[in-house]
C-alpha cells in the first residue's frame, strides 16, 4: 500500500464517528466486546475525571465499552482508591499473572491487560490527559468496528496554534521529530505516515496484541509499530485525529531517557529483523507530513549528508603546508 493511498483511506477524524448509536449497532452486529485499559502510576489528580467521563458517556449513556479497567503499577498516592470510588475495575499489575513476576514500566500494565481483560478490542488511554473526552475512545475503536482489515489504530493530535500558510506541519512531539521519524525514514519509510508514532492512545485487536512482544518501558509504542508492520503491513494500521490533547510537558532530561529506551528497542528490532551487519542502503529521503484541513500529504525531502575527507589527505593542502607527499 502506498503511503498516499494509506493516508487517504486509513486516516480518520473523530467527528466521522459522532453517531454513537450507529457505532454501537455495528459493534453488536459484529458481536464484539471492547475493553478500556488505563495504565496508571500516581495519577490521582486526573484519573477520577477520566473514569467518570468514560463510565457516563461510553457505558451508561452509550454502551460502547464492556469494561473500564485501571491497571496500576503500584501508585503511592490515591490513584486506585479514586478510580475505584468512581466505578472503574482496578487491578494491581503485580497481582496479574504473579508467576511471571513484576517488571516496572507502563508496558507491563499494557501487556498484563491482555490477560486480565475480556475484550476482542482493547483500547489504551493514558491517565494524564487534562481535556479527556469520549472521542479519545470512540475515535480509536470505530475504525476497528467498521473496517475488519484494520487491526491497530493510533491517535494523533496537537495542531499548531498558528500557521501562516495553507499547509501546516503535521506536528509530532520532540522525540518523534528528532529521533523516531528520522529512524523510520531510514529503515521503515512507510511507518513515517503514522503521524504520532509515540502517542499513548491506541486501540488494537486481541489477535494482534497476543502475538506481539511488549517492551515494558519507553519503547513499547515504537516496537508495536515495527512488529505489526512486519507481520501485517501498513494496511493493518489506522490513525485518528483526536484534536487537541492537553497533558504534562516532559522536561528535556526525561526526553533523553525516553530516546535512549526507544533506541534500545529499535536496535533490538533491527537485530531481530536480520538487519544487523547488512544495514540497507541508507536512503537520503526524509519523510514528513503536511496537513491541509483534514487532508494529509507526505513531503519527501532529499537530505544528502555528504562528507569531506580529512584535509590532510588533500594534495594541495599538503603542498601549501609543506607536508611530504603521502
Amino acid at each position: 500500500m502506498k503511503i498516499d493511498d494509506w493516508l487517504q483511506h486509513n486516516t480518520f477524524h473523530h467527528e466521522e464517528f459522532w453517531d454513537l448509536l450507529e457505532l454501537i449497532k455495528a459493534k453488536e452486529e459484529r458481536n464484539l466486546k471492547i475493553s478500556l485499559c488505563i495504565p496508571t502510576l500516581n495519577e490521582e489528580k486526573t484519573i477520577g475525571k477520566e473514569v467518570v467521563l468514560f463510565i457516563s458517556e461510553l457505558k451508561k449513556r452509550y454502551p460502547l465499552l464492556d469494561e473500564i479497567a485501571v491497571i496500576d503499577s503500584g501508585s503511592t498516592d490515591k490513584t486506585r482508591e479514586v478510580a475505584a470510588a468512581f466505578g472503574a475495575d482496578v487491578y494491581l499489575a503485580s497481582e496479574i499473572l504473579p508467576e511471571v513476576g513484576d517488571k516496572p514500566g507502563k508496558g507491563e500494565n499494557l501487556w498484563k491487560a491482555i490477560y486480565q481483560l475480556k475484550g476482542d478490542i482493547i483500547c489504551y488511554v493514558d491517565a494524564d490527559i487534562k481535556n479527556i473526552h469520549p472521542r479519545f475512545v470512540y475515535g480509536l475503536v470505530a475504525p476497528l468496528i467498521y473496517r475488519q482489515e484494520i487491526k491497530y489504530v493510533k491517535a494523533f493530535y496537537d495542531r499548531p496554534l498558528a500557521y501562516s500558510k495553507k499547509f501546516r506541519p503535521s506536528g509530532g512531539g520532540r522525540v518523534t521529530e528528532i529521533l523516531v521519524r528520522p529512524l523510520f525514514s531510514l529503515y521503515f519509510p512507510e511507518l513515517t505516515a503514522i503521524l504520532q508514532p509515540l502517542s499513548g492512545e491506541y486501540a488494537v485487536r486481541r489477535e494482534v496484541l497476543e502475538r506481539i512482544p511488549f517492551p515494558i518501558g519507553y519503547g513499547v509504542e515504537t516496537s508495536h509499530l515495527i512488529d505489526v508492520y512486519r507481520q501485517w503491513g501498513l494496511e493493518a494500521f489506522g490513525q485518528t485525529d483526536l484534536d487537541q490533547r492537553i497533558h504534562r510537558n516532559q522536561p528535556v532530561e526525561a526526553l533523553g531517557k525516553m530516546s535512549f529506551g526507544i533506541l534500545q528497542t529499535f536496535f533490538k528490532r533491527l537485530e531481530n529483523n536480520d538487519f544487523t551487519g547488512k544495514v540497507p542502503k541508507i536512503s537520503p529521503l526524509y519523510r514528513h507530513f503536511q496537513a491541509h484541513h483534514r487532508h494529509y500529504k507526505q513531503v519527501v525531502q532529499e537530505i544528502v549528508e555528504e562528507e569531506r575527507p580529512p584535509m590532510i589527505t588533500n594534495p594541495d593542502y599538503r603542498r601549501k603546508f609543506g607536508l611530504p607527499d603521502s
Binding site: 477520577g48 475525571k49 467518570v52 457516563s56 451508561k60 449513556r61
Partner: protein, 390 residues
C-alpha cells in the same frame, strides 16, 4: 391563569428522589465536566450552545432550536401540555476563551473556571430530561428548557430578554438556575444600574508640562465624591466597585482610567436618584480638571418581583424544608428580572455550595448537587401541579 400551592405528595418523595439521583452520579459529573471545559465567554457561547442542543437531541426533546440570539431551547412536552414552565440557566461565563478551562474532579469537588457560574447550572438543564426519564417523573405541562446566552456584564441578559420577547408559547412560570449557593431563594429583583466611569486625560507630554497628575487622580476625585452620596448609606441601597483599569507602568502617567461599578437598591426610584448625583459629580470634576469624563450605562433594571406569600415562594420553601435546605432569601439582578419585567412569576434557585466565584480556582462541592437537583425537580413538580387548569 393563577397558581395554587400544591406540595402534597411531592415533599415526601423528595428524599427518595435525592437518593435515586446518586445512582446517576457519573452522568451528572461527566456532564458538568464536559460543559465546563467548553469555553463560553459572553458573546462567544456557540460551542457550548451546540453541546447543549446536542444533549437536547439525545434526550428526544421537541422543538429543539438555536434562536437568533444564540440561545438553545427545547420543549419537554407535558402529558396535557396546556401551560408552559420555563427552566433557564445561562451558559456564558466571565472567563475568556484563552483561559485553561480544564475541570479537575476530586472525590468531593469539581474545580475549574466557571464551574459554579454557571457550568453546573447549564449542565443541570442538559441532564434534567434524562434524569426525569430515569426516575419515571412526568409533567402535565410543558417544560421549556433554555440555555441563555449574553447574561454577563455587557451581555445585559440579552439572551433571555430576546427569548421572552419572541417566544411563541406563553410562559406561565419560570425557574432560573444558579450554580451556587444551594438554599438561594430569589423571588424579587433589585433596581440596578451597571455602569462605567471613563476618565480621559490628555497625553503624557501635556501633563508633564502642566504638572498635572493624570486620569487616575481624576477618577479618584470622582470616587471620593461618589462615596459621600448620602443615599448609599441607607439600608437596601449599595454600590459595588467592581474593577479599575488604568495605566501600564511605574513612570508613565495614564491618559485613561475606567471604573466599573454596580449600583443596587431595593427601593423604587433610588437608583435613578443616585445615578443623577453621580452624573453631577462627573460633570463637576470634568469642569475642574478639563479632563474628559463620561458615565456609560451598561445595564439598567427596575426593582420588582412576586410577594413572599406567593404560592411558588411558599411551595419552594416547603420543598427546601423537606430536603433540609436552609433558605437564604436574596433579591436577584440576573435572569429573574427579565421574567419579572414580563410579569412572569418565578424564582431563582442555587444547586450546590462552592467557593472562589469568578476566580480561576472556582469550585463546587459534589455532594450537595443531589439535593440541589432534587429541589429543582420538586419545585418544577410543585409549579406543574399548582398551575390552574382551565
Amino acid at each position: 391563569m393563577s397558581l395554587t400551592l400544591q406540595t402534597e405528595n411531592i415533599v415526601e418523595t423528595l428524599p427518595d428522589i435525592r437518593q435515586a439521583l446518586r445512582h446517576y452520579r457519573e452522568i451528572i459529573l461527566a456532564s458538568s465536566v464536559m460543559m465546563g471545559e467548553i469555553p463560553a465567554p459572553t458573546n462567544g457561547e456557540e460551542e457550548r450552545i451546540r453541546f447543549l442542543s446536542d444533549r437536547f437531541n439525545e434526550s428526544g426533546l421537541q422543538n429543539i432550536s438555536i434562536d437568533e440570539a444564540g440561545n438553545a431551547t427545547a420543549v419537554l412536552p407535558g402529558q396535557e401540555g396546556r401551560h408552559n414552565i420555563l427552566l433557564e440557566a445561562h451558559v456564558d461565563t466571565v472567563f475568556d476563551r484563552s483561559v485553561d478551562h480544564s475541570v479537575a474532579l476530586g472525590t468531593d469537588v469539581l474545580k475549574g473556571p466557571g464551574i459554579a457560574d454557571n457550568s453546573i447550572g447549564a449542565a443541570a438543564v442538559s441532564i434534567l430530561p434524562l434524569m426525569l426519564e430515569k426516575l419515571g417523573i412526568r409533567f402535565s405541562n410543558n417544560i421549556i428548557l433554555l440555555g441563555a446566552v449574553q447574561s454577563q456584564g455587557h451581555g445585559d441578559l440579552g439572551g433571555i430578554r430576546f427569548f421572552l420577547d419572541h417566544v411563541q408559547m406563553p410562559i406561565h412560570a419560570g425557574v432560573c438556575l444558579a450554580g451556587i449557593h444551594l438554599g438561594r431563594l430569589s423571588y424579587s429583583c433589585l433596581g440596578m444600574l451597571r455602569g462605567e466611569i471613563v476618565c480621559q486625560a490628555p497625553t503624557e507630554t501635556f501633563w508633564e508640562r502642566s504638572n498635572a497628575r493624570g486620569a487616575i487622580v481624576n477618577l479618584n476625585e470622582i470616587l471620593t465624591r461618589i462615596l459621600s452620596i448620602s443615599e448609599l448609606d441607607e439600608p437596601g441601597t449599595s454600590l459595588i466597585l467592581g474593577s479599575i483599569k488604568a495605566g501600564n507602568a511605574f513612570n508613565t502617567i495614564p491618559s485613561q482610567a475606567i471604573l466599573r461599578f454596580e449600583l443596587r437598591s431595593e427601593k423604587r426610584g433610588k437608583v435613578t436618584i443616585v445615578q443623577r448625583k453621580i452624573a453631577e459629580i462627573i460633570r463637576a470634576v470634568a469642569a475642574d480638571s478639563e479632563a474628559q469624563t463620561e458615565l456609560r450605562v451598561i445595564t439598567r433594571r427596575k426593582p420588582g418581583g412576586i410577594k413572599s406569600n406567593h404560592p411558588i415562594v411558599e411551595g419552594t420553601r416547603a420543598i427546601m424544608a423537606a430536603l433540609g435546605i436552609e433558605p437564604t432569601v436574596a433579591p436577584s439582578v440576573g435572569a429573574l428580572s427579565a421574567l419579572i419585567a414580563k410579569n412572569i412569576p418565578g424564582v431563582t434557585l442555587g444547586l450546590t455550595s462552592g467557593q472562589n466565584l469568578h476566580e480561576f480556582n472556582e469550585q463546587i462541592q459534589i455532594e450537595p448537587i443531589f439535593t440541589g437537583l432534587a429541589q429543582l425537580i420538586g419545585v418544577l413538580q410543585m409549579i406543574d401541579r399548582g398551575i390552574e387548569r382551565p
